[in-house]
Subunit: 165 residues, 2 copies
DNA sequence: TATTATTACGTTATAATATTGCAATAGGAG
DNA sequence: CTCCTATTGCAATATTATAACGTAATAATA
């Protein structure tokens, strides 16, 4: 677990070990600063989500928590996930009923997810221009947008290569 | 049911009776043309979805089917919904685990939904420009987008007026 | 028409996802 | 320490969705 091997995130090569460590450290610092309790269960769930750039379902997380010696009733996972999502450390991918660690924490952002339908890796990007367009058209009808989530489904580069044609 | 009263769709005033009738007729014609079986359950579910511009959960639909004299085991609703979604007559709103009738049927479209968090009305619009931007940035990382869904959450005009401040 | 294949339906059961309620406990503020 | 609040432990339950399988209806073929 937490190998140094570079894996594809945002379907790009990167040093995932550093990626993981930076994110955990940033989370710790953010919690310290905002007096949030980064309890063992919350920390562990974030570690699990960060271990790969894939979406994990709540019950998968629950299994992993149990393996790690935590209690394993559903609320354990759901409460930790709620904390992480509320504080911007993770996002829920609605299409998958699953969760990913946020790769853009701290910045105010409307996330766009690119979800590979084959490997279920999830890349998160900003979506600045598009949201702007959307806001304008919404305002025309008096709708006030508070949050926008874009979920794009497709195939990543490496899965496309191995696809049966 | 199916009153003539104009209600807010896309959070705009319109003659919903005509809106409903046109959509049902278009669905019938599309099914005739494509040799799709527009069976009573499928028709009824589309009628229900079209009766308001709100998202309905599968079990709510199931209740309404039962009231209308249909069988009421979950597969009855899910099968009809699957048919409607597959053929573009309805969309699933993932955030709500619920379904809305498509208001842009026939046109190839990547839907954008504006979902009022208060009344749960759902307006569907195109999202042309934004998808273009997205495709470009996706291609840069080798990700091939097949489908994009944008779900914007907020408050509609009329709910905003009544909101507790 | 008879034969075969396909599609849809009826029914039961169960899986997968998520929440509620309440008692017990742990940490901080005063 | 004591009060207060946030968090946890635990049991039950709610909600959403699918699997499995036989039957009936329809379509395609002969
Ligand atoms: Zn990484
Ligand atoms: Zn992939
Ligand atoms: Zn209407
Ligand atoms: Zn509203």
């Amino acid at each position: 677990m937490y190998k140094t091997k570079t894996i594809s995130i945002a379907f790009k090569q990167h040093n995932h070990n550093a990626c993981w460590g930076n994110a955990m450290q940033a989370a710790q610092e953010y919690c310290d600063k905002h007096k949030l309790k980064f309890t063992p269960a919350r920390r562990k769930v974030l570690e699990l989500l960060l271990s790969e750039h894939r979406a994990l379902g709540a019950y998968k997380i629950l299994d992993l928590l149990r393996e790690a010696g935590f209690k394993s009733q559903p609320p354990v996972a759901y409460r930790a996930l709620e904390f992480l999502v509320e504080n911007g450390f993770a996002h829920k991918i609605e299409r998958l009923n699953a969760f990913v660690a946020c790769t853009l924490h701290g910045t105010e952002h409307s996330p766009t997810f690119m979800i590979c339908r084959q490997c279920e890796n999830v890349a998160e990007t900003y979506s600045p221009a598009s949201n702007l367009n959307l806001s304008e058209s919404a305002e025309a009808s008096g709708f006030k947008i508070e949050q926008t989530i874009i979920e794009a489904r497709g195939v990543c580069n490496s899965c496309a290569k191995t696809e049966i044609l």
